[in-house]
Amino acid sequence: MKRKFDHSAPASSGLTGPKYWRSLDELADTPGFREHLAREFPEGASSMEGVDRRQFMRLMAASFALGGLGLAGCRRPESHILPYGKSVEYTVPGLPLYFATAMPLRKSAIPLLAETHQGRPTKLEGNPTYAPHGGASSLLAQASVLDLYDPERATAHSKAGATLSNGQVYDILAGINKTYAGNGEGLAFLADESASPTRARLLAKLKATFPRAIWAEYEPVQDEPPVAAAQAAFGKNVKPVYRFAKAKRIVSLDADFFHAEAGALYYAREFAKGRRVTKKEDEMNRLYVAESGFSLTGSMADHRLRIASNHMLALAAALANKVLATETYAPLTQGLDFPNKNQWVEKCAEDLLEHRGESLVVAGAHQPVQVHVLAYAINAKLGNIGKTIDFVAVDAPSASTITALATAIKGGSVKTLIVLGGNPAYNTPADLDFGALLKSVPEVIRYGYYNDETSALAGTHIAATHYLESWGDARTVDGTIVPVQPMILPLFNGLTEVELLARLAGEENPDAYAQVFTTIGRLTSGDTKKAFEKFLHDGLLEGSAYPVADVALGNPAFDFSKVPAAAALSKDNLEVRFATDHKMDDGRFANNGWLQECPDPMTKIAWDNAILVSPRLAKELGIVPHGSLLQVARKEEAEFVQGKENAYVYDLTINGRTVRGPVHIQPGLSNYTVVLPLGYGRKISGHIGTGTGFDAYAVRTSDGMGFATGAKLTPTGLRTKLANTQEHWSMEGRDIVREANYDEFKDNPKFVAGIGMESHSPAVLGADKGKPLAFVASTTPRGNSLYETPNFDGVHQWGMSIDLNTCIGCNACIIACQAENNIPIVGKDQVLRGREMQWIRLDRYYSDGQADAAAFGAEGNKILPEDPQVSMQPMTCQHCELAPCETVCPVNATVHDEEGINVMAYNRCIGTRYCANNCPYKVRRFNFFDFNKRATDALYMGPLGHQSDMPELIKLVKNPDVTVRMRGVMEKCTYCVQRVQQAKIAQKRSAGASGNVEIPDGTVKTACQQVCPVEAIVFGNVKDEASAVSRAKAQDRDYAVLGYLNIRPRTTYLGKLRNPNPHMPDYAALPLSRVEYNQKNGHTEHGAAPGGHESGQHEAEHGGQG
């Protein structure tokens, strides 16, 4: 049977296997690759162009003949194994390496660990050495690895359309240095903000070389409180760092410290520490939020006040009056008007005063200086400084502003402008008309990662490196210096910022590594090399945080005379709030498909932004939608046509500038505030980013960067479709998210047991009810089913617990899962069809306590809520022990393994989609197309119409440990089975004769768990009673969603708690979702009494039914 195949010796041209970074830059220069890039998103179906029918037949005939003669089709395709020429240090083929690096973002970087596979970064994790983040990271950090492999990034330096070599760029930079050295008159820089010590050092050098040059910095979104406020209050250059974990009472004045503020990751984590309750004795913080939009922070509020951003100063003044027991600020409170105003402010202030030193007032970074000064004064009075808020010394801002630069350009004094990063042609204030100014400068050199709006106006574009290709350094929010280490050589010969600045400063052949080494060397003592190696290894420089400054409130009677009074808002005088987008940030992530496709955490709209209006304004505009179904008296947030949100398009006009966009009704907005998320409407981006949403910068002027008044909405008569992934906003009185107030929880920690169908239906576990979880999980619950469930006799039994009380709904888990599990994007068109692929869905429910029991089958919300409560719930495969998906699969493609994971065997799946139909949680995703191989705009092309394989560059981001799924295959959350298996293998490898094959608790972390900033997700072995997940599930608040179906999900949730103040005017004795639940289920008699719905009562009442 032995056959010998005479393969010809491999020709060198046939050996273009994956060579990764070593040769990608060479590869980038080959014509084939260029064509590949160009063809990735073909403009039209050019499938058979140039091949006529005759030629086609001839070709086909020839290939059939060949096939028949040589049986070429039966030959085994030859593949190669390509080992290194020389071994690479530390690299073991097949094993990942982890390096510390950091993602710089404005002045606060996120320390990361990058997972690299043979020199190719595929996944980023938070660096656990940096204690404030504890190994967590954000959705932006998770998605940033995709930018590295973006085929549409700037792949070459260029000048007036011609490509420049690195050498030519060096000459240009040296030329600038030569021209302006010693003077700098006529030279200007415009850079984005950075806290990099190396950049600061090089900047000092630049200033010495070009003493008269202008160095301006501009960031379109402000994420740190203005230093001017601290100057005014304390007379020092300091900035606040909040210690949320120590704060028991928190007041936010328009501050979205879970997302929009610098250090949001740290703050969210600290907040969760004060929020987490594991037993009834635990204390829980209370959050008051006053805001105009509806932020994630607002969604966690125990008391949420909708007022215009414009009125925030008046509210701060009113609060300051009460806390400081003065009337100094009374004039400022004019115009403040909301129901029960005096009581709200008074009781809130009382609550703060009862928690001196344990309270915290935070003002949003976009708010004017005066609001911050008042917040500082309140904090000082409450004795919070040094306890819940530290002021750290920072450098005085020395850079010029964009306005000053614009003035200089207008004056004609700028001859050469160097734009470092940013995208001023797109995101600078509209009144500056910076695009025109750029054109008027004789020489503009743009250093940027993308060829964007600014590059189009600049004569010279220098391609920047990604931070994963660069040497550099950065500072976290508390000032800790962290390294930015390259994981890979620059894919496209980009230049690092450090090298660029060093060259401009006149250094010849600067080495970015050496530059960073020098900087760190100056900050450390002793053996510099050792210190630097430790710096790189740990991923941070110990003790480098900003020093905490001693501050004392100087003169609280700050000059408030120039402050305009709170404006009276109406339909014709709207307030516009410019919001940092959750995904696009300021627009820099526009070409990132993962982020574009991730639904906004509040609106649930993907691939677009929208003009967000309050329900009241919508009513006045006449666009309140009807219920989507005739027989159900419920109201949707928007009008849906065949499941697609059909939004009205409106023109928004403010100060003579107009922007056009779709209107989306957002419950919970201040009545006459419209929210415009920034970062969309890019005109020159890639195929992903161009043309999504509208550009809110077009109406944003330098006197109203955070918010502005005087806007008006006018209808255009047009409609547009928005890719909204959650059509319905209400739970309709069902028990999906179970909530209680903290006071009720203290009386009745097992409140979740009294909610839901389980108390009505027979005991779901039958004879096993009440047995310990470890026993239940390892017993096969066969019942009378014909379907044979495997024995759960594995060493481990995997399970997950999600704490809804700390989940802030930030969406980081969605992107982390996408990065870990090779989940493709599908494009707006497919999202409109409901075919999004993310394995985790973050459900957002509003409740207003207005479910109408009498209407239509005892469900229905007849009005859109203005003041809703929000409940967030991450929903993914629950790994039911008696999984409904398994019984309907005709080919056993989805089955259980012996450790309780509901597994998908992709190669068995034939795509009947029965499993998705039978899944009660709707968490299965189907590959309707070859989403991995095809670009989102080429899905409907024929077999010849598109590339047959994934672009080489995109392949590099894929996790080699996870199968890339093909068309026609079902997929879903696997509990990161690849991580589980690797941990098991590692344990087995080291176990040897000891026979200890059980993985220690905490070894395996799922991607979602690892990224979660609030540690809401716990995964582990439920068979081990001491494991973290067993302890979480042993809590009283543990419940299974749809538990009454007796499918025994392995993922369970911990009920959500709210902590309202009984003295507040908007106090609700029960969470509003519970009120709806009671209304629907005929328990209204409990609704009125505080903490009334007790499980004892409930069970007694229904005892006879079971």
Binding site: M1, K2, R3, K4, F5, D6, H7, S8, A9, P10, L15, G17, K19, R22, R76, E78, S79, H80, I81, L82, P83, Y84, G85, K86, S87, V92, P93, G94, L95, P790, V795, V895, H896, D897, E898, E899, I901, V903, M904, A905, Y906, N907, R908, D961, V962, T963, V964, T974, V977, Q978, V980, Q981, I985, K988, R989, A991, G992, A993, G995, V997
Partner: protein
């Protein structure tokens, strides 16, 4: 009117049925035998860019597998040696051999030697070498007696059922851990020590996975 069909035609339906059954049987037998990895894969012996002789290196010279396949105990892949590993010896032994030109070139330029892959699992199969060789499964179980092969060929079928044969009954195929890299050693069962093998499986808690997630992720 004469009969169109002769009388013998009465047997035709039965004959057709029998013919079809036989045809089906032959086809089924053919596919069962030929369309399997045991037929299609076993014996695959491509020409390698360098005529590396395992029977010389691993057989006559007695070199340990792990000298070249260094990652096999740590990683999922066994790893092929870098050209540098070859040059450890071949910078002294036969330094000018024309057969080694490819290796010397690779060492010099860093371009890999294009070894032709023989044992190839599908993309959706995640076989892990380390967990096997650390727990009593010898190289020879899957790769055959490579130490006797002049040119390496595919010796075992590597089909899923073949994997499962062993996963369902590991005691039959395991060796003493110290014999794992000794390709001439016998399994414990072949040595007549089946009881010892069973004890080994029990004490080490071998328990190889038989569910999908063991290999498919």
């Amino acid at each position: 009117m004469s009969n169109i069909f002769p009388k013998s035609a009465n047997a035709l339906p039965l004959q057709i049925v029998i013919f079809l059954l036989v045809l089906g049987g032959v086809a089924a037998a053919g596919i069962t035998y030929y369309a399997t990895p045991a037929y299609l894969r076993v014996g695959y012996q491509p020409v390698q860019p360098v005529p590396f002789d395992h029977s010389l290196h691993a057989g006559q010279l007695g070199m340990d597998c792990r000298y070249c396949h260094a990652a096999v105990e740590k990683s999922g892949t066994s790893s092929l040696p870098a050209a540098q590993t070859c040059m450890n010896c071949h910078s002294i032994i036969k330094p000018a051999s024309p057969l080694l030109e490819v290796v010397r070139e690779s060492f010099k330029t860093g371009d890999p030697v294009p070894w032709v892959k023989i044992h190839q699992t599908p993309d959706y199969v995640y076989f892990n070498h380390s967990v096997h060789v650390n727990r009593g499964v010898s190289c020879v179980e899957c790769h055959g007696k490579v130490n006797e092969m002049t040119t390496v060929y595919h010796a075992k079928p590597h089909s899923m059922s073949w994997c499962l044969d062993c996963h369902r009954n590991p005691a039959q195929r395991i060796r003493n851990p110290e014999d794992v890299f000794n390709l001439d050693s016998l399994t414990l069962a072949e040595q007549g020590k089946l009881e010892k093998a069973k004890g080994f499986v029990h004490d080490w808690k071998l328990n190889p996975p038989q569910s999908c997630s063991g290999c498919h992720r």
